[in-house]
């Protein structure tokens, strides 16, 4: 679509060009995490891979939940023991040990094998596990990716806690470096796979639930104020798709002060004289509708105007 390598266009200040380049680089970085899945119907779905940070966050949440479960049951058990007078404490403890093992190893499996294919931690961050080939996530895969966790997290932890004399410490350090390869595996591959993911043929994608909001242009058409805000083609051509999307965000979620500032800037840029009784919100919505109409028309003709500096396709 837009190539970042092209030289600065005439009429762009140094600062603006720098900002634009940074924006493009960020877009490319995000683009690198997007994988295209072609459904059997032949349609494309874009899957966004979860970043390492998101996965680490999900893991921390899950570990906190696991510890909460383990400690809560231990406390509950000892309370019950105390209430019943220390009878058969060993048997109770035996059951708790087995329970601990299953929480430690099967917590992830239990949740990922279900319909949502995500642990509570993953769900909180909008992540889910999916098969890399786009097929169904089998139980075997879920088992494989989670049994590997022992090596990825358990092993470095063990080496970390291992100490002792000089030789022991060196061995521990060596082991730590070696097992660190497993721990930091996701950082070093394109698909952000853990060793478990690699072995199970899975990856973790970000699939948050989005809500459908009302179309901003609906307000404009409903109010039938089109005559009030009649923008010339030049005015509607002042911006590109990037600015349209920023404007959409501004309209959907920002405060009145920001809306006012944005409205002032747009008015200044397109040379619009505010009429009496014109609100900032009304102006922005009307301009949004005009800009989107214009850009969508051009898009139908195969011209994507990426941003306001994009002058390759003259109107």
């Amino acid at each position: 679509m837009t190539d970042t390598s092209s030289p600065a266009r005439p009429g762009i200040s140094m600062e603006a060009a720098q900002r634009r380049r940074a924006r493009m680089a960020e877009k490319m970085r995000i683009g690198k995490l997007v994988r295209t899945l072609v459904t059997p119907e032949g349609a494309e779905i874009h899957l966004k891979l979860a970043t390492v940070a998101e996965r680490a966050g999900a893991l921390l949440i899950d570990m906190a939940i696991q510890w909460a479960i383990v400690i809560a049951t231990l406390l509950g058990l000892s309370y019950m023991m105390a209430a019943m007078g220390f009878d058969n404490a060993n048997v109770a403890f035996a059951f708790w040990m087995v329970f601990y093992f299953f929480v430690r190893n099967f917590y992830y499996i239990f949740f990922e094998i279900g319909q949502k294919a995500a642990t509570p931690g993953k769900r909180a961050l909008g992540l889910r596990v999916a098969a890399r080939d786009g097929g169904r996530l089998t139980a075997d895969s879920v088992l494989a990716r989670n049994f590997m966790r022992e090596v990825e997290i358990g092993l470095p932890l063990q080496f970390l806690l291992m100490g002792g004399d000089q030789l022991g410490a060196w061995m521990a350090l060596l082991g730590l470096v070696w097992s660190g390869v497993f721990l930091f595996f996701p950082v070093f591959n394109r698909d952000k796979m853990r060793v478990g993911d690699l072995l199970a043929g899975t990856w973790v994608i970000k699939a948050p639930k989005a809500t459908l909001m009302t179309d901003i242009t609906a307000v404009v058409t409903a109010q039938a104020q089109a005559s009030r805000y009649a923008f010339t083609p030049e005015q509607a051509d002042a911006y590109g798709i990037h600015e349209l999307h920023v404007l959409e965000d501004v309209l959907r979620q920002s405060s009145p002060e920001i809306k006012q500032q944005v409205a002032e800037r747009i008015r200044g840029k397109i040379g619009w004289q505010a009429a009496a009784g014109e609100t900032d919100l009304g102006f922005l919505e009307a301009y949004y509708a005009a800009l989107r109409r214009r850009l969508e028309q051009r898009m139908l003709l195969g011209e994507r105007k990426a941003d306001k500096y994009d002058t390759r396709a003259k109107p």
Partner: protein, 330 residues
Amino acid sequence: MLKSYRFREEREADWRKLDLILTRAENSGVKALSDAEMTALPQLYRQAVSSLSVARSISLDQNVVTYLESLCTRAYFFVYGARTSIGERIMDFLRRGWPEAVRGAVWPTLLSFLCLAAGIGLAFILCLQDMEWFWTFNGENFFDGRNPDATVEYLRSTIYTNEGENGQSELAAFSSFLFNHNAQISLFAFALGFAFGIPTAWLLVYNGVSLGSMYAVFWQKGLGYEFTGWLLIHGVTELFAIILAGAAGFVIGGAVAFPGQKTRIASARASGQKAATMAMGCVVMLVIAALLEGFGRQMINSDVLRYAIALTSLVLWCAYFYLPRTERQV
């Protein structure tokens, strides 16, 4: 009026209907859906997917495209996802997946068996020649006093449970501790296979060594026959499980080290799932072993009966894993 707005207005109701069905299915399972919803689902899904590709090319409404993207992803995973219940999955694992995975890994199983046997044999022979080896292998405090310095009477008392002895609850705790230990070791043996199977082999030999050296202690005191019974009543299941866990590790290690025609990643993936099934099976076996240990061993004090149970369990496991069975047509 904008084209993209009209486009959205015409289809929005269907999108929302699909959204509702998916939310219900995600929250309360497939069973919560009515027949009408089930029939409507594929149709709505296809519509949403085609809406998405149209929206990408005609609409610049970010929210609509993001929403459709998320809706289609959810719908895709639901429509093409696994629809089997957890019960069906477990039955499939027991009936087909597990024995098939074990049957498919005969050579790794033999290799794993050899590693463990080598560890046992080595430690046993070395310890019989010179008991100092026991301390080398096991350190000072090991198996609560079951070491070369113990008397024959003490060792014998650890093998049998006396009448009226109130150690039942302690033993239960001990066997659950052992289960934890063994199961964790098994999962480790599986997972470490990824490093070309070398740590797995070491783990197997090491476990063999500690078993072999203990065996030597009892053997030297003339308790070999009794100890074997004590060990094997659950040990057949337990050792078999550890051998299979090692085999699972070797399956992965072999696939990573020698991918053959496939790429390394594809090869690891193909074998990883089978190996994971085996590892899961090991946990099941270890649960059974722990039950045999915690209850069977404490209640049965006859050597003959212990041997009989050991032999029966061996025959049953072998039959379950290796007996050829007719594939049922699906």
